[in-house]
């Protein structure tokens, strides 16, 4: 059993005996009782999506599924196609990719997750590097260490282009490291 605070996007968990894939996780503070975890889930048996909330110490069985290293190959609307080292292809629906969609890049290495013999999702490396494709220049005088600005990062599908909050010193074309668990900037690469 794992507490909610340790569950990651892409994990398959049992919620009231139903297998659910975590598509999105928003951690919200700051209740006296700890953080509130708002998850977008999908029932793997019925494909029904749902939004639920949990306390950080609510516990779940994490289903250990088969995984296989794959690379992102191409987009065959509406499916994303991944390929393993034997050139076998796996198609995964966009909605099952959850937040991973924001970070997909041609040739990207990740792990395909299988349920009942079918590839249902991918898990990303914890840290990835991406190029900033656009960020407004810092405004003179905005020098406080805590000030953040938006940065668009490179992505396989422009429509999924993602925005990460970055410090002011980050510029367009910079390579940055991002924590895929929290969608947060870690450092300039």
């Amino acid at each position: 059993m794992k507490p909610a605070k340790e569950i990651r996007v892409g994990n398959i968990i049992m919620v009231d005996s139903k297998p659910m894939i975590v598509l999105r996780s928003d951690v919200n503070g700051s209740s006296r009782t700890g953080f509130t975890y708002k998850w977008k889930l999908k029932n793997l048996l019925t494909n029904a999506p749902m939004e639920n909330v949990f306390r950080g110490d609510d516990k779940f069985d994490v289903v250990v599924l088969d995984k296989k290293p794959v690379t992102y190959s191409y987009f065959a609307d509406p499916l994303f196609v991944f390929m393993d080292t034997d050139y076998e292809q796996y198609e995964i629906e966009a909605e099952n990719l959850g937040d991973a969609l924001h970070y997909l890049k041609d040739g990207m290495e990740c792990e395909a997750v299988f349920y009942d013999g079918k590839a249902i999702s991918v898990e990303l490396p914890t840290t990835i590097q991406r190029q900033v494709v656009y960020s407004e220049p810092a405004v003179k005088g905005n020098t406080s260490g805590n000030v953040l600005k938006e940065a668009k990062i490179e992505n396989a599908i422009e429509a999924n282009q993602h925005i990460v909050m970055v410090p002011l010193f980050v510029s367009s074309d910079d390579m940055i490291e991002i924590d895929t668990r929290t969608n947060e900037f870690k450092k300039r690469a």
Partner: protein
């Protein structure tokens, strides 16, 4: 009163962490659900001594008692046997307290399952709207729902008894009633004529510095502080023990210690004063319904997370002026730089008439959201 043919039952579980706030909120909610909606309420509370401070009828040595029409049970631990017949139609865990496992097992046995709510803490943060009323599936086919009080129509609203604002208006329009109320605590006519301030805060509040600023302000003021609150600062000012009835005057400031009082009297205290310092959640909400300027001392959290909540409230509160925001941040030590209270206080005091007018606008906004008890019951109907 809206009594139903078959009375709906409701169990409210309260674990007291913050001395009076938790039970304060639960007791108000329990009474209102019973009195205004005809619900058969059982209030489970783990600390009867704290409960007694705000409700003197509570016997602290009884497992089971009736207070008014509310059944009060001492929640003495997580053990205990329950059957489906023991489970109420609506079960509320307040602030995500862990209700006894056997009670949850009995909930699963009950047909139909009860409506299970986690009543969360009050916050103006934007994420609350997105989490309010969402389900939280549990084992054994039970579903819990998170229910958030709040300041917008996308939340559960604020606790408000139906007659409260009329009672407040009648009281505030009756100088004799105000004088009679204050005089029972020894407040003199001269003190009544001064700027009256109630003070309820956590121990770390910078009360000594504020006392000094008030003392030297040149404006006569009377600070009314319940026994047990800001003890160090009050005793230093008084030069003696801060027992109910004690008072002292230094410079422009008189500090007077009041007995800890039942909730209806605390409301009257808020209505009687020109400025109220409140803390936590319960007195914070009551100060908003008092329609007077108030300064909130927020329950402290690790990593200063409470400052995020404070800022979220100050940004949404219609009564916020620049001076109130600055004063509130300083009172909660959310500013890193040293505070010059002697300068800060008069600039804030000059804004008080404006803040008082804006506080009434805020009430109208809050009224439009409905009240927490009514909203909670409406929601329970939708998921039953």
């Amino acid at each position: 009163m809206n009594h139903r043919t078959t009375q709906t039952s409701l169990a409210l579980f309260c674990k007291v962490v913050d001395n009076y706030g938790d039970i304060g909120i639960c007791w108000r909610l329990a009474r209102q659900l019973e009195q205004e909606h005809g619900i058969a309420v059982t209030l489970w509370v783990d600390n009867l001594a704290s409960f007694r401070r705000i409700c003197p009828q509570v016997a602290i040595d009884r497992e089971l008692q009736q207070i008014g029409a509310v059944t009060v049970r001492h929640w003495s631990g997580q053990d205990g046997a329950f059957t489906a017949a023991d489970v109420a139609d609506i079960v509320i865990e307040f602030f995500a307290c862990d209700i006894p496992p056997a009670y949850i097992a009995a909930m699963a046995e009950r047909a139909p399952h009860p409506v299970w709510l986690n009543l969360e803490g009050l916050s103006a943060e934007a994420w609350v709207e997105g989490c309010h009323a969402l389900p939280s599936p549990q084992s054994r086919s039970l579903t819990k729902y998170f229910f958030f009080p709040g300041f917008t129509s996308k939340t559960g609203g604020l606790l408000l008894e139906s007659g409260l604002l009329l009672q407040r208006q009648a009281f505030q329009q009756d100088p004799a009633a105000i004088a009679a109320f204050l005089s029972q605590f020894g407040v003199t006519p001269a003190e009544m004529a001064s700027l009256k301030i109630s003070l309820f805060c956590y121990p770390q509040a910078p009360a000594p510095a504020l006392f000094e600023a008030w003392q030297n302000s040149g404006v006569a003021m009377t600070c009314l502080v319940p026994e047990g609150v800001a003890v160090d600062a009050v005793e230093a000012f008084l030069g003696k023990q801060a027992q109910a009835g004690a008072s002292a005057t230094r410079g422009a400031l008189t500090v007077r210690v009041l007995p800890f009082m039942p909730q209806p009297d605390y409301d009257k205290l808020l209505w009687s004063c020109d400025l109220n310092f409140v803390r936590g959640e319960d007195s914070f909400v009551r100060a908003q319904w008092a329609g007077k300027p108030f300064v909130w001392h927020i329950y402290p959290q690790d990593e200063d997370l409470h400052h995020v909540k404070l800022n979220a409230f100050l940004q949404s509160y219609a009564g916020t002026t620049e001076k109130l925001a600055e004063f509130s941040l300083c009172w909660n030590e959310a500013k890193k730089e040293a505070v010059d209270w002697a300068t800060l206080w008069p600039s804030f005091a000059a804004d008080m008439p404006k803040i008082a007018i804006m506080a009434m606008d805020w009430q109208q906004q809050m009224l439009a959201n409905g009240d927490l008890a009514g909203n909670l019951l409406k929601f329970a109907e939708t998921v039953r």
